[in-house]
Symmetry: C2
Subunit: 513 residues, 2 copies
Amino acid sequence: MNTPVDAPETRRRGRAARRRERLATPLVSLPTLVRNIPLYEVLDAEGVELIHEESMKILEEAGIDFRDAEALEYWKQAGAEIDGQLVRIPRELLLGLVATTPEEFTLHARNPAHSVRIGGRNTVFVPTYGSPYVLDRAHERRYSTLADLEEFHKLAYMLPALHLTGGITCEPVDLPVPRRHLHIAYSALKHSDKPYMGATVAKERAEDNVAMAGLVFGEDFVRDNPVMVSVCNCNSPRVWDETMLDAVKVYARSNQPVLLSPFVLAGASTPASSVGAVAQLNAEALAGIAFSQLVNPGAPMIYGQFLATVSMRSGAPMAGTPEISLMNFMVGQMARRYRLPWRSSGMTAGSKLVDAQAAYEASMTMQSVLLAGANFVFHAAGWLEGGMTASFAKFLLDAEQLEMYYRFGEGPKLDDLAAAMAALREVPPGGHYLGTAHTRENFQTAFFMPELLDNNSWDQWAAEGSLDATTRALAKCEEMLARYEAPALDAGVDEALRAFIRRREAELPEGVE
Amino acid sequence: MNTPVDAPETRRRGRAARRRERLATPLVSLPTLVRNIPLYEVLDAEGVELIHEESMKILEEAGIDFRDAEALEYWKQAGAEIDGQLVRIPRELLLGLVATTPEEFTLHARNPAHSVRIGGRNTVFVPTYGSPYVLDRAHERRYSTLADLEEFHKLAYMLPALHLTGGITCEPVDLPVPRRHLHIAYSALKHSDKPYMGATVAKERAEDNVAMAGLVFGEDFVRDNPVMVSVCNCNSPRVWDETMLDAVKVYARSNQPVLLSPFVLAGASTPASSVGAVAQLNAEALAGIAFSQLVNPGAPMIYGQFLATVSMRSGAPMAGTPEISLMNFMVGQMARRYRLPWRSSGMTAGSKLVDAQAAYEASMTMQSVLLAGANFVFHAAGWLEGGMTASFAKFLLDAEQLEMYYRFGEGPKLDDLAAAMAALREVPPGGHYLGTAHTRENFQTAFFMPELLDNNSWDQWAAEGSLDATTRALAKCEEMLARYEAPALDAGVDEALRAFIRRREAELPEGVE
């Protein structure tokens, strides 16, 4: 956010003054972005129908594996054709189920001021997820811990354009696997009052998440209202496995939304064709959505995908490629064809460092995803090294970029034109506008002023230590964590959460079962 | 470009093998990008007309300074209202003149295979311009020299997605100011056979440029055919000065196109309003275009602008802000309203280093400019520090990004869908596509494989020295310059150019007049 200043002529002030200003700045949280810019669509109506038709044929003829007995029973009862684990779904059945999914819904935060809308013209930005490593505050790469995760949750709470606290921003690998989900949920609920994300890797972990949400929001409230979002991946090509389906069932029954996301490595897990990859992932995502509606018709769900392209030279997944952008535009159009809220990924990068590569990659995809109309922009801050690493520096740099994309998404403001034209008439040819009344009235809001992007002269920048963006971001990280104050949480609720964790820890094993 | 390989399973080969491959790769030059993606437009038709109306009122009522006696005489003869240096132009006069400007034209290269189309659905990418400093091949910032400039021209010749050689990519400050233009033009003509850019800072320098082009292309050819592009800035607000107008006159009479570009620091040289800034720069650019048509009706010209927003906190110009993107979308719509070829700027950055900041800034603007439909994307490689510095590393990194934007601009390929769907049926659920015939046939072209973006595993990357993108780009720079071979240039033409330079150097002073 732009820090308020006294007057436009207050230039080139010292770092200390700017620091004092930042410390005095109250927390700002941007509400849901209601996009006021057009959608960018690369397919015409015929192209959308062509992909739709191929997806329907994949579902009807090739089929999708549902590797879970209960799921197969659901499909059998519904009238799908079962062949071992392979389910062939007639399009009428599929589209009827998809149509019961809400087009738009409210995701509730424990602080109602931070609740957001999912779907339609709304867009929310969500932190990275699932990295086993961090590029830490000393810019060292190492396994991540619960302490790192807590810091990411605190930062997400403080950063204006992050709408969700996130979930497993990084894996707390210092905790036993079977118990991690308890501490992840507690950290997200304790350190932030924005909406958060649930765990999905097993049935009882999903149940624990729903139970903990009940302690905070009330069991009745959670039964009918989305309070967290979880992510379940389809194993492309064409497999929904038991672990994921178990979590889908728990969350669907609890009316808690899930990102039903084919994890696509285009070229390896899909044909070597962008449009072919979209036809496949569309079929996979729709099969997941339809299944969720078999379990609980009307449960809020989010259609989506994770997209990387594979280097045919090295086999490595790539980020920030043009095909990822093109596929995002196509997938967005497919999601809207079915009137489904749509999840994509924003600031993905393959780089090992927060260098130029990381920013080129992240920006290439992020701008496309915004213009493509994604509703839930996952991995919108901190993602590095193909998701293996969560970076504190990139978390802050991405988050500032998101403030800019937010502004961008609000679109041009034409109502100011008459006043601006009056100002023009006050300024002679060759003059400047800094002293006009119009400028004085608008200087705080007319143009976004980033804090982490240095626009000083070379001399001024050199005098301040010739710091690169990554170093400046880490310095801001320290500042923010130093002034962090936890949002209020009722002491009784806090104790109930802790008691729940103690009880479950006594029941759960220390190692992986 | 994707380097050809033998088979998709040839993974993780050594650096030496990849280097041999690159050395054996023939030069590739991408033709003009004919955009096969939709235009992105943020204004509705009413918004375009609103801005048009305000621009017309600026021209009719507020007026534009033309600080040149001959220019004022042109306007007087045409029937405009002259008030000192201020010219008020009735819209009928202005729009009639604008309408004589060609909507699209060919810019000829001395190698016809490298000629490009300007205007319409065509887009070309052009190097940065005018920096007094370089961030050199040892990554040191220092004043630039002719040797640096020659290297930039060589690199532009070799880089696939740069359509023009450029002109003053960096200032050869080791040469006397009055003689520099001769050596800049010679370097561009000698070291590359792509189209190039002319000098504009004085009448006789423009004349020298036209004369030198005549020695290469033939005087008759140059009289009727565009062979170089020059840039003339309007000094916003509302001033076209004598130096620039003198160059416009020379080039217009020679049918050589000029970028008629208001240099906009939005908030300082325009109102503190994005839409107000667009209304003003639109009036300024149209006045320049109209003037060129007074001089020579039908002369090819390019409407355009340079855009930065000003930090109201520090007074510094900023790059990569959301308002720059929004203004670009609006300006593109205005250019199309008048059926004019449109120039914008692509990879601009305020950063002092080739760090994450530089890439965030450059990418934010570049993607917008492509989707906005810019025909001539100036500053598309190498720009740093608000244009004060040209960076070799960023030149190469940006140029690879441009290959990706080129691919993006070609749009999705739907004709492959049936074949991709056949491949899908060969691969069982949970399988992979790497062995299918479809993948073998498409692996070289399906997904762009960047060379400077590292997508190896962390271990592999660490084993190769943990290099950041900037260091890798500088290594590639050395490799490219080592294998550079000059394009053929007729020995007689070469000697004629040298003789011209010798003669003019004998006439021209060593210092600034």
